[in-house]
């Protein structure tokens, strides 16, 4: 271990996936609203960036309730991708985000290829949006409800189609509900993506033994929180080790600076704090501050030294 450094001299800034970030700590889609909800609770300017709630071409009202339940060291959700739609986002949410002082990545999705393309194109023209993150964990209605993001050929075609209309950096948020994360990551590279976000929630369920009913209305939901961190680390590492030529934003159960460092070691260039923002609305701020202190104490002058530095 090198000699300790002055925390102020530690470089957290990183340019990755087509975006220059002040720090490698972002907040994950669906856990940070449209940013404004956290005003006064965390300093957005200390963040590397925020990823908005997923946007669809038209507003969506979401699923029936109950929509969430707590599980061991985690939670299940089935919100149903409720959002304000592209127009509502531009009119009601973007003006605040333009002046919030951090990078803005807009997560988006569609129910069909055409919807994905329309949504991507609609968001691409907006000033104040630094990059787009495509959620491919949606069921493909035309293909019998199979997620777009689980078939490498479909995924490559979808990425290519969106790439053709999106000039801004385009990241793809991969689903972990697959047996071959590397094949999906390669499909994104083949389709012309600029970055990967790994992972989205893991499909799970919870049952109330007393009432004999599922704990959430849609029966299945997405598992998040510290319970999924080992799976997320494994998938980030697999994609990194395979040499897929795209930077990775690591997501899954990150609660503190140590968790973030583990993701960097596995190969992530940025991390996204998700469910922990529900536990502590200033979680991302804590992680940025602690990360700087940890790196300084360990004599690491640049966070990039950690990326992929796992010893095996």
């Amino acid at each position: 271990m090198s000699a300790p450094l002055d925390p102020a001299s530690v470089k957290l800034a990183i340019e990755t996936g087509g975006v220059a970030f002040r720090s490698p700590v972002l907040t994950a889609s669906g856990t940070f609203g449209y940013g404004r909800e956290f005003e006064g609770l965390t300093d957005l300017r200390a963040l590397g960036g925020l990823v908005t709630k997923g946007i669809s071409p038209a507003p969506r009202f979401g699923n029936a309730t109950p929509r969430i339940c707590e599980t061991a060291a985690g939670m299940l959700n089935s919100i149903g991708l409720e959002n304000v739609g592209v127009e509502g986002f531009e009119r009601d949410k973007l003006p605040y985000l333009r002046q919030c002082g951090t990078r803005v990545l807009v997560n988006f999705f569609g129910a069909t290829f055409d919807e994905y393309i329309a949504c991507g194109a609609g968001l691409d023209r907006l000033d104040g949006v630094d990059a787009l993150e495509m959620n491919v964990s949606c069921p493909n209605i035309k293909a019998g409800g199979i997620e777009f993001g689980t078939d490498p050929r479909v995924l490559a075609d979808l990425v290519r189609a969106c790439r053709a209309v999106v000039k801004k950096p385009l990241w793809i948020k991969l689903t972990p509900n697959t047996s071959d994360i590397v094949a999906l990551a390669r499909a994104c590279a083949d389709g012309g993506a600029d970055g990967l976000s790994i992972i989205n929630t893991i499909t799970g369920m919870a049952i109330d033994a007393r009432t004999r009913r599922p704990k959430i209305a849609t029966i299945f939901g997405g598992l998040s929180g510290p319970a999924i961190k080992p799976i997320a680390l494994r998938m980030v590492y697999q994609v990194h080790r395979a040499g897929v030529p795209l930077p990775i934003s690591g997501i899954g159960g990150i609660q503190d600076a140590t968790d973030a460092i583990e993701f960097f070691l596995a190969g992530a260039t940025t991390v996204q704090v998700g469910t922990q923002s529900f536990v502590d609305p200033d979680a991302s701020g804590h992680i940025v501050r602690d990360l700087q202190a940890r790196l300084a104490a360990d004599g690491i002058s640049d966070v990039r030294e950690l990326v992929g530095a796992l010893r095996v």
Partner: protein, 278 residues
């Protein structure tokens, strides 16, 4: 609304699984109004993960303390029940909407079911502080005697108490709506407002009764929530004014006329689930 650390100053066990936590270091909750709530989490490590929502029972601005009433129902409340003076807790609040302020021209019927007491207790305190306790009555129901707590404190406020228990051990035997009906009969022709908090089934029954009597009704609803600030969107409830409203950010206190007709058990029903999980 602020996110801060507080300390347990006192943990008063009331029996029946009920306890009152007095939290020190809560000066930023001083201006909280009856109906508003806080998210509370102890130093629980990674599990249980999420903070718990509690309606405030009382705040003491001079002492900088805040009280919450809880009943042990799961892991989080069990941990809080065992918390000792000095234990640190994270607090986010005050959050959400509140009940209408006491009004000398109205009779307020405060309807509480079991652990739904806190916002109505606090409303009673506010009425007493404004010398309007005589215009408020508490209609309070539970399964049995252990479910009716803090009775002496509320008598001392000067509130008239109308108690019901399902087992008949205290007060009128039956559901709280029976006692509410009797109070509505008594006050027929006067300006009456109903304010309720308790199990959702009770609240819908209270709201129906108020609607039949053409009396304004405000209810404090409960739903699973992760964040308390309108981000997780877990606490959605079907509403008339919009497909969904949020208990944390549009509530927890709602005008019952907005949320009554489209509750999940009514004929109108909630919007159908969409196809996209997570």
């Amino acid at each position: 609304m602020r996110y801060f650390q507080a300390k347990v100053a006192e943990n008063r066990v009331l029996g029946g699984g009920y306890f009152v936590l007095r939290l020190a270091g809560c000066a930023s909750l001083s201006a909280a109004k009856p109906g508003q709530f806080v998210m509370i989490r102890g130093a629980w490590g990674r599990d249980p993960l999420l903070p718990r929502a509690f309606s405030l029972l009382s705040v003491a601005p001079a002492a900088g303390t805040a009280d919450v009433l809880a009943k042990t129902v799961g892991r989080g409340t069990a941990l809080l029940e065992r918390s000792l003076p000095g234990a640190e807790v994270d607090v986010l609040g005050p959050l959400g909407t509140s009940f209408p302020t006491p009004d000398a021209s109205c009779i307020d019927l405060l309807v509480a079911g079991g652990v739904g007491l806190p916002p109505l207790y606090m409303q009673g305190e506010l009425a007493a502080a404004q010398k309007l306790a005589g215009r408020s009555e508490l209609v309070y129901g539970g399964r049995g005697a252990p479910d009716l707590v803090l009775l002496r404190e509320m008598e001392n406020m000067g509130l008239a108490l109308h108690l019901t228990t399902e087992d008949g051990s205290v007060g009128m035997k039956g559901l709280v709506t029976r006692a509410l009906e009797a109070r509505l009969d008594t006050h027929r022709g006067k300006r009456v407002r109903v304010m309720g908090c308790g199990p959702n089934a009770m609240l819908w029954a209270v709201a129906r009764l108020a609607r039949e009597r053409e009396v304004p009704c405000f209810i404090s609803l409960e739903e699973q929530m992760a964040c308390g600030i309108g981000v997780c969107l877990g606490c959605a409830i079907p509403a008339r004014s919009r497909p969904y409203r949020y208990v944390c950010s549009n509530g927890p206190v709602f005008d019952a006329a907005d949320v009554l007709d489209v509750n999940p058990t009514s004929s109108a029903g909630p919007p159908p689930p969409s196809e996209c999980p997570a």
